[in-house]
Amino acid sequence: HLSRYAKRSTRVGLSVNTVPCTVKPTVTLQIGDAETDSSRPGVYVIDVTLPIGQTVNIQEISFKNYYTAYVSVRLLRRDGEGAAKWTTCLRNHCLMPSPHTEEGSQDYCSVYRQQMLIEPDNVTSVRLILRQPSSAWLNFSVEDIKIHPCLNEDSEWDIPDWLSDLTQVDQLCDLQGLPDPQTVSSSIQQMWALTEVMQTNQTTASIGRFDVDGCYDINLLSFT
């Protein structure tokens, strides 16, 4: 099935709090012959894959929109026996409330774990299905796709799954009505981040001076 995609990959994303992954070139879904048909496609599919053998527990998928109206997300997850299965985790999520007009067209977006229909764990591949029903736009896409893993695991080194198969995974004990540890830890992360913001930023009161040491002699404005 790999022949459906171009052999060369386009980008590797690597930054703080994201997992390295490969974004495959966009595949068009169209009725009819792609070469002779003059109408523009309304559906694109973008696959994002992790390096072979690695899986991720997804906290967030972030991207920058470019005129996509709706996005659906499917995940390829490895189950207990090692078999891989595609499931839909987000269906027709609206990015542009009015597909013919600009609202939301160039926004930065994120899809969070909490919004997903299934647990995005042990994921090896993410498929974004982009839809733009309006013929008003010449092109549409999403850019800068990044996958953010859950923070409360040791994500310094993603353990290849053949290694984790060797170790016993503890069964999660019955929660007995307590909140899910994942949600609790992620909200604690958020609160911690906020307190950091509050502590490091000084107050923003301006002093009101517009000169530099009493000097405000200006001859020309600069353009850069």
């Binding site: 517009f210 002699d217 600069s222």
Partner: protein, 526 residues
Amino acid sequence: MMDEGTELSLTIAQIVQRLKATHLHSQIERQAKECLHRPEIQLESLKEDVRNFLKASGWERKLQNAVYRELHVQPLPSHPAAPPEHAKEPLAYMRKAQVNWEKRILKSLNSMCTELGVPLARKRPAVEQKELTNKWNEMGTDEPDLSRFRPVYAPKDFLEVLISLRNPNHDSSEEASAKSHWGLIQVPLHDRDIPQMREAYSELSLTTGQLGIDDHTHVPPDLFESEHTRIGKKVVNEQDSAAAQQYSRQGCPTGLRADLWALILNSTNEPEDVMHYEQLKAGVIHHDLLVDNLIYKDVKLTASNDDYYFVFEDFLYQVLLCFSRDTAVLEHFSYNSATPPKSYIQGKVGVEEFAVVYPPNGVIPFHGFSMYVAPLCFLYNEPSKLYSVFREMYVRYFFRLHSVSSSTSGIVSLCLQFERLLQTHLPQLFYHLREIGAQPLRIAFKWMVRAFSGYLSTDQLLLLWDRILGYDSLEIVAVLAAAVFAFRAENLMEVTSLTSAEAVLADLSTLKVMPLIQIFLFATVI
């Protein structure tokens, strides 16, 4: 798009951080400390008792009003990956258009500077400073030679920029289709139709009382006016910003308007506000700016020639010259698509320690700018109070009328909204005007850029601005523009040229705005 919990936490954190820097914070702290002496404050229930005290003494209300104000001017918490420019304006092609427009303005200002041999800014010699201080209350009597100065731009120049706006990703092939737009604005921004507006502006409906309609001399006051005024007095007594804003949707009684607007804008006249104004005045005395001449010229050309506003000439100088020196205005650039012009002093180009903003408030006035201030002179006669109200109105609303942005209250949206309303509900008129070379926007643009200041009679203008404040949006300006065309449709169908169309719409001073808006929104057959 973040999940709601995080978005709320971030907004709260941002507001708290901003309010910590204000005088209100230190005042409340002091009040809380001092109230500890009071007998009703018990140690066991300290927190509750202090809070109850602050509530009863009105300090909680002041804090509420301050938070409400912050919610008005704060940009929405943005996605962590979004750069600051995205908060100013999310669409890349609009950012680019704004940057190019600003470059043109800067070039124009620079060339005026070099041609006239006048510096953009210089320190005034002591003699001149003394002279200006003495003349402060009568700057209008001065007749400086302003013939060499010309306005940096006029609204019609800006209109050409808006007309040429194009989204490179938009399919604008010439085939006629249901979505053909007959007007001049060719960007696909969202606009609202009349059914949506009927919901949004429900307080303006035919069955709801309005000032501007139901306070007419023929209508008995106890049908609406007396009760409305009674409620208004209550709102002012309660000092509630949010209530005042809601109240203003049905109009403000003349006697209460000044207090109500100040309340909606959370515009105080505390000693620190007066001090701030004096500091700005000192800035005017110490430094002479080229933009001062532009302001003089603008006032002389517009407000001084206006029957209603010429008496306020001196006030206008006192407000606008100080406005140019106010660095607090720079804060609004975080949500304004515009960027303040920059320069370097002492020739140290590129050295950041010598970088300054010009003018200090980052706003270069254009032809007609003084008309944003003029109507306010009818409400406030104390310069620091007038200044405070004007500045808040500028950083909430007026800045959107002269920058390129996709905001729903921005001038681009207003123009598009106007054209769409006209095309949908008066298609014959629009078609006719187009055919004779009189695109409606070319006539209506100048009204909208000034939010109708100088075109309507003052009492009508103030009724319109009541609704701008009440609905926290400039959209009503576009609705009124369409309503004016609807009102004069019969005459306009007879004209055969742009000049005669302009003549039909030249004098709006007899129009009554609220009936026009009400009929257009609620009596149009759809």
